[in-house]
Structures are given as C-alpha cells and as structure tokens.
Symmetry: C2
Subunit: 252 residues, 2 copies
DNA sequence: TGCTGCCAACTGGTTCTACCAGTCTATCGA
DNA sequence: TCGATAGACTGGTAGAACCAGTTGGCAGCA
C-alpha cells in the first residue's frame, strides 16, 4: 500500500553524480576533478559532503586523491572492482546496457557448475539438508516471485557449501547487480523456475558428494536459464535499436 | 633503497581499524557501533574523520547506518563484495589466511580457461598482436620478476579480449588481492613462468579463434601454476600449525 | 487500566569557519 | 640563466553549531 520514502543523503547524491559522470566517460580517465571547495560551491553543498563522496570514489578506485594536488579520474575498467557492476547495468536513460548484462549472466553461468561441484565435495550434510528444505518449499510455492526467491536462495546455499569465500563475495556483487531488475528476471526465468526436478536432482548429487554429477546437473540447468536471459536481451537490444532509430528519424 | 613514507590519513586509519574489527569478528554482525561522537572522542579524532570512515564502511556494506538510530554491523559474508578480499587475506598477526588464498586461486583457475575461450571468440587481431608482443618480451626477459609482470599482463590482455566487463572487474579485485604478496608469488610460480611455449601456443589459438583449443591450453597452464600455489599453501599451513603448536608448548 | 501525545535526550546529517599541510608556479635576486 | 622563495592554490583536520530523525518515558486523558 504505502512504500517507504527514500531519503538519500547529500553526500550520496554527490557520490552518485560524480560516479555516473565517470562511468559514462563524461569525466574521462586522467581528467581532474574540480577542487573540493569549487565542487561544494557548484553543487550548493558543504565541502564536508563533497569530501565524503570523494572518499568513497577513492575507495571504489574511481579517482586518485593527492594531498596538495588535484584529484584525478582513474580508468575504472582497469582499477575498479566488481562492486561497480550495479552502476554499469543502466545507462543515463535508464536503459539496460545489454553487453554488461550479458557479461554478468555469462560469469554466473561459468561459476555456477564449479560452485555446485565444490559444494558436492566440501558441503556437509547440513548443506544438503538446507537444499532439500528449499526444494520442499518450492514444491508448495505457487507465486513465480516466491519460486524465484527460493531458487536464488538455493544457489546461495550452494555457494555457502562450496566453502569458497571468493565465490561468495563475487556472488554477492552479482546479486546486488540484478536486484534492481528482480521483477524482470521473474518474467525471463518463468519456465526454468518450474523445473523442480533439476533442483531436487542437484540436491541429491550434492548429498552424495558426486562432484561431476553435480557439475553436470548444474550446468544443464544454468545453461537453460542463461539462454532464456540471452534471448530476452537479444530482443531488448533489437527493440532499443529500433526505438533509437525512430528517434533519429523523428529528428529529421 | 628508500621507500616512500606512507602518510595514511586519519579517516583511513579509522576505516582500517573498524574494518579489521569487523572482518575479525571482533565486532559481530548485529552489534552496534559506538555513536560518532563517542568514537571520535575515543579515537582522539574529529567527528568528521569518523564520518568519512563510516561512509566507506557503509559503501562496503559492512555496516548499516540509520538516521536517528545506531549504526549496526552487517554480516560481511552475506553482504560484502569482492573488494573485501584483500583485507581477508591476512589475519591480525599478518599470517596468510590459507583458506582465503585457496579460494582466490580456485576462482582464478576456474575463470581463466573461460576467459581464454571467450577471448579467442570475441578478441580481434589487436588482442592477438598484443599477446604476441608480450610473449616476445618474455623471451628476452631474464629476471623472474619481469617474467611474472609480463605473464600477468598477458592475462590482463586476455581478459580485455574476452569483452566481458564482469570478468574484468572480478579480475581487478583478484589482482588487488595478490598485489601484497607479489614477491611471494614470484617464488611460487618460478618454474611455471618458464613455460613460454604455453603462452605462445595460447596466443596462436586466440588468433585462430579456436575456442576449445584456447580453453584447453589455458586450463593446462593455469592448472599447473595453481597446483604450485596449492602446494606452497599446504606447506605454509603445516608450518603455521607447527609454529602455533610450539607457541602453545612454550606457554606450558 | 490503557491509550495518546508530547517532550527530552539521544542518534546521525549538514553546514560553517579556521587552520594545518602538501604542491605548484611565478617572480625576484644572485 | 639558474635557483631560492613567497604566495596561491590544493587536500587534510578540527570543532562548533545546528537540523533531522528515533526512542523512551512521563503526563494527561478516556
């Protein structure tokens, strides 16, 4: 009914604005940011807020700060970490960057079988128990949104079971990236989420410690759902091109 | 001879201290941080510096800040991104966290063949040219350190060639993680870096657009160097256990 | 008794001002 | 011409004052 009011802080606003200008190449690598005092004046905020934003840009390795000198923009493709992905997924018009989306899906596609395999080897009975419990919930779930939530939780448990902290943190970054298009994903994955047999089978293989079996089974499922997303992205791309072409035509 | 004096800013110091307390479970998930005013008093710094540090913790998803309420610690294993890896690699005594290191090597091992395969498909001639140029340099390189630099640059070019921004940013995170143990890596990889034939072959396969060949060749090489690292980590682990056991014995 | 509303004492959010500490450059003197 | 230096930038730090949410207790009313 009512939804919480999002009250973004001033420094968050400054951070977003600067970050967007950097990832959109509006501010190119090597260029210098205006001085803190100038920025605070231009944006109508305190120098404090600007400093907090720049500290965060520095942490994200989007800029380099030098005491006494100017703050310069870095090449985010070389320096930035996976935490930048969410802000790369959409362009300034709010359109999905199809190549970015494809990259993310591909990485998930590649990592998932390995995660399942490692979970089969290193996961304890507790992992298999949790997986079974989730599948049990999926069986009685009706709403696609609920099914999707459980499916993603299934993978989170597998990631946990793999005992690999690098997988875990990388998956966290991916999760943060597709959270904004959660509902869209529900539509894309509709059919694949119905394949409860695949989930059940995977849970069994993990319990049996069958590395190859789990990998194969995981690959089979994840390839399917990845293909569904790729197909959507292809359509989205064609649609976006057609729209932008129309816009050009109208402009003439 | 002389090395630059690291003049860490106050807020960096505060950030590091709080982050370390969180990743070492000294501050557990759900616990509350002292208020900004109290923290600034305890640490003997301005509230300004504390705020900058907390803003960064917030960005790293290590804490949750609520206007009017207390700032609480989050579970970094669930929330944090891959950028946290560097600070997980060492414990408080400066010892390598072997399981974290293994995780990172494993992820690199899994991603690398896929990256090589994608680079073979999506990389242009320019990618193959750059790879050849690097191998040419490797042939005349003598110092192991120089060889290692070139080998890692080789992989960076492959990641670029794959055209996958998610791979790119994930690799950036991994790179930042093993930068602190760069010299140690030189020792571990000594023999594998001599395998110039493997690099040359990979470059050729990428130029030919041979996806499966590039993947296979990359897997062959990366499995070898990964094994070398795993073996070192096993020894390191045994040594660390022996030392800690001795320490206990001495304490008796 | 139990609910409502308000107030006080916290919390983080924001803005100033003043000053410290590096870096760069133009200018002046040897 | 060269080099030292003064001044005008840059970011770094501190502190005070105030705004803005949250919480809990207390007074007052039903």
């Amino acid at each position: 009914m009512f939804q919480a009011i999002s009250k973004r802080s001033v420094s968050d606003e400054v951070f977003d604005q600067l970050r967007n200008r950097i990832v959109s190449r509006d501010l190119k690598a090597g260029e210098e940011l205006p001085s803190e005092r100038l920025l605070s004046e231009m944006l109508g905020v305190s120098r404090n807020a600007v400093r907090e934003a720049i500290k965060r840009l520095q942490q994200a390795r989007l800029v380099e700060v030098k005491h006494g000198g100017m703050t310069t923009v870095l090449d985010y493709r070389i320096e930035a970490g996976a935490d930048l992905l969410p802000s790369l997924l959409f362009d300034r018009q709010g359109q999905i960057q199809v190549d970015v989306a494809r990259s993310i899906v591909r990485m998930r596609q590649v990592l998932s079988p390995e995660i399942a395999g490692d979970a089969a080897v290193y996961g304890k009975a507790a992992t298999a128990d949790r997986l079974d419990a989730i599948v049990d919930e999926m069986v009685v779930a009706v709403a696609p949104a609920e099914l999707q939530r459980l499916a993603f939780e299934f993978w989170e448990v597998l990631v946990d079971g793999s005992g690999n902290i690098a997988y875990r943190l990388a998956f966290n970054s991916l999760r943060k990236t597709y959270e904004p298009i959660w509902d869209l994903l529900t539509q894309m994955l509709g059919r694949d989420l119905q394949k409860l047999g695949a989930f059940r089978k995977l849970a069994v293989l993990v319990r049996q410690g069958d590395r190859d079996g789990a990998m194969h089974s995981a690959r089979e499922y994840i390839d399917g759902s990845s293909t569904a997303i790729y197909q959507f992205l292809d359509l989205y791309e064609q649609h976006a091109q057609r729209v932008s072409k129309d816009a050009v035509t109208e402009g003439q």
